[in-house]
Symmetry: C3
Subunit: 209 residues, 3 copies
């Protein structure tokens, strides 16, 4: 498919992924605010930045209109995530539920970002970069703002899983698969890798060690 066809295909096939990714990431931002004992306003700020940060930078880079400016729904989801995190009993999010939800968001969002990159004319390597950015940048900005060491500086397989999902999306679309199928297979592979990292503690080797 060429860019305009891809742009057509992206709407119905992957719109739900967008909202899922936003909700999960917004929620993870609000939970960091909770950990830091912040105010509701900071909950909202972190939810918005984490929820839309990666996709926003992607849209600026590929020259697309920023996806949340012309509708209320995206910011509304972020507000709702912040309010739920604020109001719910804090014990509720202990355990691994959020880590797994984040893994789903990571895998799906990186496939989506790579596909959207191609749809707006990015070359293959930059399109893979767009997928990684979409999935990872919101969390990185969140961590920098909170003064936390970012996911970037940990040896966990996180950015790597996003890169696998994004690269497979680009490769499978280049191989002629329909976008939704390509993105689905790629997201499943990225999720499997991230899931293995969560379950079995898979890590990348660090330099010089």
């Amino acid at each position: 498919m060429n860019p305009p066809e891809l742009r057509e295909a992206i709407g119905p096939a992957l719109a739900f992924v967008d909202l899922l990714g936003i909700a999960v990431f917004a929620f993870s931002g609000a939970l960091l605010a909770a950990e830091k004992r912040q105010t509701l306003v900071t909950f909202i700020f972190f939810a918005v930045v984490t929820g839309v940060g990666g996709g926003t930078v992607r849209d600026l880079l590929i020259g697309a209109p920023v996806f949340w400016i012309h509708r209320n729904s995206v910011i509304f989801i972020c507000l709702a995530a912040a309010l739920i995190a604020w109001a719910a009993p804090s014990g509720l999010w202990k355990g691994r539920a959020l880590v797994w939800a984040d893994a789903v968001g990571l895998a799906a969002y990186s496939a989506y970002g790579a596909a959207k990159g191609l749809a707006f004319g990015a070359a293959p390597l930059p399109a893979i970069g767009m997928g990684v950015l979409t999935a990872c940048l919101g969390g990185i900005i969140r961590d920098v703002l909170a003064g936390e060491p970012s996911i970037l500086m940990r040896a966990e397989l996180y950015v790597t899983a996003a890169a696998l999902s994004a690269a497979l999306t680009v490769a499978l679309i280049a191989a002629g698969l329909p976008m939704a199928l390509a993105a689905g297979i790629a997201a499943a592979a990225g999720f499997a890798l991230r899931g293995g990292a969560i379950r079995y503690g898979w890590r990348l080797p660090s330099y010089g060690r």
Copy 2:
């Protein structure tokens, strides 16, 4: 009013707010450089980043031409703020004068940012976000660059005052008020809230406390 009419109305009515906000924020950036015993070049960098940071991100997000690229005046104001902060006796800025000037800038700039967001077609919730960004982001970037805890992480009513001013601007324009009147009322309310926070130490409750 619809977006093109808003865009028309924004010019004469609110242009001075732009310059006031830039000058105040640029100055606060230069003063942080002074506190950190930096060089003149760092004074200038901080003045520029703090003065134009929020409005720059707003313009990128709403798809407007970045407001300071095609004229010299904005960068000139930032340079002047840096030089004044560098040359003036440092005792001059002790006390509360700058905090109050910052409160004026915060209230006016968030009203202006929300109005400009609407004028470029942003939906109401994102337009409120544009107001908050315009008023707060420059200072946040300044604090992150300097390695300071950002205003975001303090319980003071700061972002909240910007949000009030931006939300009122959007609500009053939706209610049919002329833009300058809407922005004026909204900025006054935001300034009153921020002023109360400065004067009486009003704070938001923190999570779990």
Copy 3:
């Protein structure tokens, strides 16, 4: 020359500077990842962010298409820099070679950034800012992400050398010199200043000391 002529002139004359700057900065990003004992994925992320960060923000600000989105070569150079830094014996980069390569990149890249700013219609002062950004921002983002004190907070003549190179480029083009000559003279001056700072420890005075 007017902006369209400048845009014409920039292609053949200065394209190699682009690639040199990207390679040097990408490599310096990867070396910081090595110092921090990071994984290969982090090497790549740092190489890309440092290599393209400054030019990316410049292109967004001046409204140019982001320079690395529509071709594979730029990201490919960053990947190669990351892999070389990962694979080569770490003793190889001890000493001053990289500092001098960075000085070449700094001087050339700030001249290039200022010229590209003018070519897209920036006024003179903002165009100088574009040159400084192009040369310095990638490294600043790299340092913030790694939790290092950024070059901004050191008294070394670094940003100053970029500012000299960018300002001379703008002044000489305004004086009627052909772009390649203007940029060449300006870059040589910026390199001389930065070189003096490396060789003789030239510093700027800090505030209040």
